[in-house]
Amino acid sequence: MIKKAEGFYEYFQRKDGSKTKATHYCAGCGHGIIHKLIAEALADFNLQDDTIFVSPVGCGAFCYYYFDCGNVAAPHGRASAVATGLSRALPGKVVISYQGDGDLGAIGFNNAFQAANRGEKFVCFFVNNAIYGMTGGQMAPTTLPGQKTVTSPMGRDVATDGFPLKVCEVFNQLEAPVFIERVSVADTKRIMKAKKAIRKAIKIQQEGRGYAFVEILSPCPTNMKIGAVEAAQFTINAMEATFPLGNFRDRSAEPPLVANKIPQKELSELIVGSSTAEADTSNFTAKEFKFCGFGGQGILSLGLVLANAGNSAGKNVSWFPSYGPEQRGGTASCSVVLANQEIGSPSVDKPDVLVAMNQPSLEKFAPTVKKGGVIIYDEQIPVEFDLPKDVSVYAFPAAKIATSKGVPKAANTALLGSLLALDLIGLPEEVVLAALADSFAKKPALVAKNMEIVETAKAWMKDNILS
């Protein structure tokens, strides 16, 4: 049993409810020593009220029995992710992640590595004893070549099991960590060095300087099935040959990275309504539109102009981009519903109005148009199939009009003009035109040209269809 340090609970009641002072660790295990070094540092720096200790899964799973500070027990491998969540939620506080070689080196490596790479403000104590403890002596990522474990009974074969994972060396490739050191608790001399590194890493947290990583080589006599002295010797002689001790990095004297300042805003400035219109409860027959064409023809934005106009007019509106097979092959479509009552399906199966800008979608959707409905398509589409007889069909020179105005891409705007001319939208024209102008908020130079295209389209309709 270790001599109780300041920083531990007086009795370990969470262990078994009694006034026990004994830990759950085996004789000769290094965890107790490491715990003591951490607990002493927390007490010495007067940090117990400001610290959260994240326990891992493994032999360290019960750290919360001992450390007299806030405690959170993490899922296996996730202590660094949990510590990230805590330190982000509680800036300025001290967060400790305590992880073993299976927890950090295997299942949770990426979480630990990415946290180190982001320079999260916590300290990670990585206890490396070259074997799985809690689960019963299986091979760890840090198990030495030739070392026998219950899952490498013939000895770790580097040809099939790979080589011991040198975490300090890997983390030392990252820019963000402030402090990286490998220490050992295998003898008194080494413990004194470990104590220094542990205190330094905690101090870095107290001062908010950034990420600190301390790997601690630690003996595990139980799972290696050897005596405590032998286990300590293994840690010194065998492990240090693969995992050399020493400081890899100490940038604690350098000024810490400071995040960019982001100007703060009121919620009402960030989430701005586009309409103050009261909900329209007048008598308005719901209208269902389908717009379709090739991607890039502005089909989705044509639908959006209509939907935005509906929103401004206090209608219930839905705009739904296509999903399903018709999305492939470059064809895009969207459904728009304008209504005064609550809207049912936002996916329009049977449109009142179909606007088609390419042949495949005209062929596909024309038969779905409601009896008495309207189809408007670009006159350049070759119609090699029968169009329904019980709907009004208009072949409209949308592309031609847009091209004549020098903006071939604005055929969608010409189609909007045709809808207005035929009074198919049911909204005041000025509301629709305002929504069209709004859609060019980022390119105001285009507004006038598009208005001109609308007028030309309307005039064509008047001259050729309505007269």
Binding site: Q48, D49, D50, T51, I52, A61, Y64, D68, C69, G70, N71, V72, A73, A74, P75, R78, A81, V82, T84, G85, L86, S87, R88, A89, L90, K93, N110, N111, Q114, I262, P263, Q264, K265, L267, L270, I271, V272, G273, S274, S275, T276, A307, N308, N311, K315, N316, V317, S318, W319, F320, Y323, G324, E342, I343, G344, S345, P346, S347, D349, K350
Partner: protein
């Protein structure tokens, strides 16, 4: 004020008005706009946004953040939700409040990014390991994407339990008018249980481990009693059910299709109504039984009968009513016409 907005973006409007303080997430279609919105807006309100390295990382950051009592959320879809299930089990076991938004896509496996409701069982029945329940809310409009995100935080904190907003690619991608909430809520005080690195919370512990079997069982009984007590918070909505002879039922986007079908059936003189659960757990059992008594039920869903099975489970066993299913999967939507046809067929079927 009304805003014309995408469903996914409305989630973040709700989160901000609810007082949510941290967002940890990993991008996945069709849920990504939720992360995009949070990335843009949270930092401008002094709140935390972090793009995690994976969904496993994200849900465990939520576990950490929620341990501190801070209102925390994430969003994902399909494979990402599967990865989060372990973490959701831990949240439930440790009794931590958090909101997880699932914008369901088609599966299994990689599937595709089209709308589906195949994660019903995963959300409602567990998904992760152990005896736990998440609170599950099912919005069916952009307005509810906002409003039920707020409700999810309220219930998560009321019960100290994870809450899932179970939505889908239709509701995530559709744009509709949103009435922006009036008032920003204040996060609740939780120093009695949270770990906040303060003198007051120094003795608090967040964990889900009970080494002794009898204590673990006791914990399970306690959770079970908590889940049972959630019954007071069931919510559902009826549409034209009073004189209905057939009840259509579906949640989320399916309910929208079913509503269109009710209108279409009524236009043909068939008395149809809609029962729409808003809470999937706790399930509005009494409400379903009341509205469906002596009537035929047609279930509309974008999955393989997962919701239908729950409807049957919650019916009054002494008063059997026929239940039929009309469904699509793989990203395909049920058409209004298909629902109407199925409803007529069910109406014509013998009543034995």
């Amino acid at each position: 004020m009304r805003k014309f907005i995408k469903g996914n973006e409305a989630v973040i409007v709700g989160a901000l008005y609810a007082g949510c303080e941290t967002y940890f997430g990993y991008p996945i279609t069709p849920a990504s706009e939720i992360a995009h919105s949070a990335a843009l807006l949270f930092p401008q309100r002094g709140k935390v946004f972090l793009q995690a390295e994976c969904e496993t990382g994200a849900i465990n950051m939520i576990y950490g953040s929620a341990s501190s009592g801070k209102m925390s959320m994430t969003a994902s879809s399909g494979p990402g939700m599967s990865l989060m299930c372990e973490g959701i089990s831990y949240l439930a076991g440790a009794q931590l409040p958090a909101v997880i938004v699932n914008v369901q896509r088609a599966g299994p496996g990689l599937g595709n990014i089209g709308p589906e409701q195949g994660d019903y069982n995963q959300a409602v029945k567990g998904g992760g390991h152990g005896n736990y329940k998440a609170i599950v809310l099912a919005p069916s409009s952009v307005q509810e994407m906002c409003d039920l995100t707020i409700k999810a935080f309220e219930l998560a904190y009321k019960y100290r339990n994870p809450a899932i907003v179970l939505t889908d690619a239709v509701l995530g991608q559709v744009m509709e008018s949103l009435d922006i909430p009036d008032k920003e809520l204040t996060p609740p005080t939780v120093s009695d249980w949270a770990v906040q690195a303060s003198k007051e919370t120094r003795n608090n512990l967040i964990c889900s481990i009970y080494l002794q079997n009898d204590l673990q069982e006791k914990h399970n009984w306690l959770l079970d009693a908590k889940y049972a007590s959630m019954d007071v918070d069931t919510a559902s909505k009826n549409y034209l059910t009073d004189d209905a002879e057939i009840i259509l039922t579906g949640y989320g986007s399916s309910a929208r299709i079913a509503r269109s079908a009710v209108d279409a059936l009524r236009a043909e003189g068939i008395k149809a109504g809609l029962f729409r659960p808003i809470t999937l757990f706790p399930f509005p059992e009494k409400e379903l039984q009341k509205v469906s008594k002596g009537k035929k039920i047609l279930v509309v869903e974008l999955s393989n009968g997962q919701y239908r099975d729950d409807v049957i489970l919650h019916l009054d066993r002494k008063n059997y009513v026929p239940v039929e299913l009309v469904n699509r999967m793989g990203g395909m939507l049920v058409t209004t016409e298909a629902v109407v046809t199925a409803a007529k067929k069910l109406m014509e079927a013998d009543n034995d």
